[in-house]
Symmetry: C2
DNA sequence: ATAGCGTCCGAACGGTCGTACGCTAAAGGG
DNA sequence: CCCTTTAGCGTACGACCGTTCGGACGCTAT
């Protein structure tokens, strides 16, 4: 997926322009993650980097191109800090757990200063049309498709109950991610981290319990009601 | 809570100014729910309503006051279309279920053209400061507090297992709401409705199962793994 | 009849937005 | 050594932003 992602932006950071461009994008991702992709203005970005507006715009041609490049760069960072953190885990349930944990931890590590970049971008562009929306929706879809794949593999391997609806699991997993980002940013309540991990564990079975437990019903590993401690 | 909400905006729509003001706010809520509270501009709003910018601004004094009034109006609509739809249900689990169902249905009924107003507003303002953010955060907190109250009552009544962590339940319920809004608006996938209802049912127990089932563990009503059909 | 007030308009303000054009200065290969 | 490319700057533009101000109009009460 990184190949797809990075297909747009040229990789050469060795040239002078490449380094400037990379600096613009790095700053752009940071600003966009807090102020939004629309709140990212050329003048402000140029001032931040000690460039002129025209000098900055020369690298991209238009604001929309800049936005697309920023989205692209954010995707690169996002997948590097989430999915790529999980490739060590075996496909299926272990990978799925690792991806969820990596997602949670990428908020903990504050990879983006404004929380999850794509959560914010999705909310900002979900009611519009155009290339930026398409890019955001496509990349979010990529992430969710990856989750779904490993749900299916987990079912095949018997690590999740047969007949599990993978779309349903992904829906609920994404919900917990959105809830965590919501709690962190709106309520500024770091307690969401433990709640998100608990919710994930209940959705995917407790790590130790499910792995050693029989695949189907029986003692219902990790499906316990939501209890305190 | 409606008393709190409507404390800011004067209730008199009988005067000419009151009717104009109400029209501005109605249109403002609609625009803000799709374009965002910042995307709502005075000039555009005035043109839409056949007013001059100054004529419109005269009703509020500043853009921020307008935004606060719009948030307030949206809250009134939101609570009227969700919480108030549930006051017929008994406090505790029935009310909780009714509130969740009302929330889902308020998206189905397209109460706001841009999906859930406060989901969008929260995402837009979660990284800023100021009165608008405070208002949004406060109102969202009100909704979540109401949810938590009825989780607690449900536990007291024995409709949810003893030891249930109400914050955890609210966290996950909100997550499913966010997931539904996300799926609907970004992916434009109406299939989220059944998934959200399934998720809610699993969190709160199947309606028929839990009501007739013993309060604590035993056959684990509604805690079944995520299965298809 | 007239004074006053509520309601809204039109014009203008300074500011910021994205974008276009033309320039300079350095770099680099023939 | 020249000539092209590259990288960036400065200036200017038209559009739109939120806001201010003075005035027009109609209703109401004196």
């Amino acid at each position: 997926m990184l190949a797809i992602v990075s297909a747009v932006s040229p990789r050469r950071s060795s040239t002078e322009a490449g380094r400037t461009r990379a600096a613009i994008l790095a700053r752009g991702v940071a600003v966009a993650s807090t102020e939004g992709l629309e709140g990212l203005t050329i003048g402000r970005l140029a001032t931040d980097l000690g460039l002129s507006k025209s000098g900055l715009l020369g690298h991209f041609g238009s604001k929309e191109s800049l936005q697309l490049a920023v989205v692209d760069t954010a995707a690169e960072i996002f997948f590097r800090e989430t999915a790529d953190h999980a490739i060590g885990a075996a496909p299926g349930l272990p990978r799925l757990r690792a991806m969820c944990e990596a997602w949670i931890s990428h908020l903990e590590r504050e990879v983006f200063p404004g929380g999850c970049f794509f959560t914010a971008a999705a909310s900002e562009y979900d009611d519009r049309d155009g290339p930026v929306r398409d890019a955001v929706a496509g990349l979010v879809g990529l992430w969710e498709r990856d989750l779904r794949l490993h749900v299916r593999l987990a079912v095949q391997a018997g690590d999740l109950p047969a007949g599990t609806d993978s779309d349903q699991v992904v829906f609920e997993l994404v919900g917990q991610m959105l809830a965590l980002n919501h709690t962190l940013r709106l309520h500024r309540d770091r307690g969401g981290f433990v709640r998100a991990r608990r919710a994930m564990a209940r959705l995917l079975g407790q790590p130790e319990a499910t792995i050693s437990a029989p695949p189907a019903d029986a003692p219902q590993p990790g499906r316990a009601p939501v209890t305190s401690a």
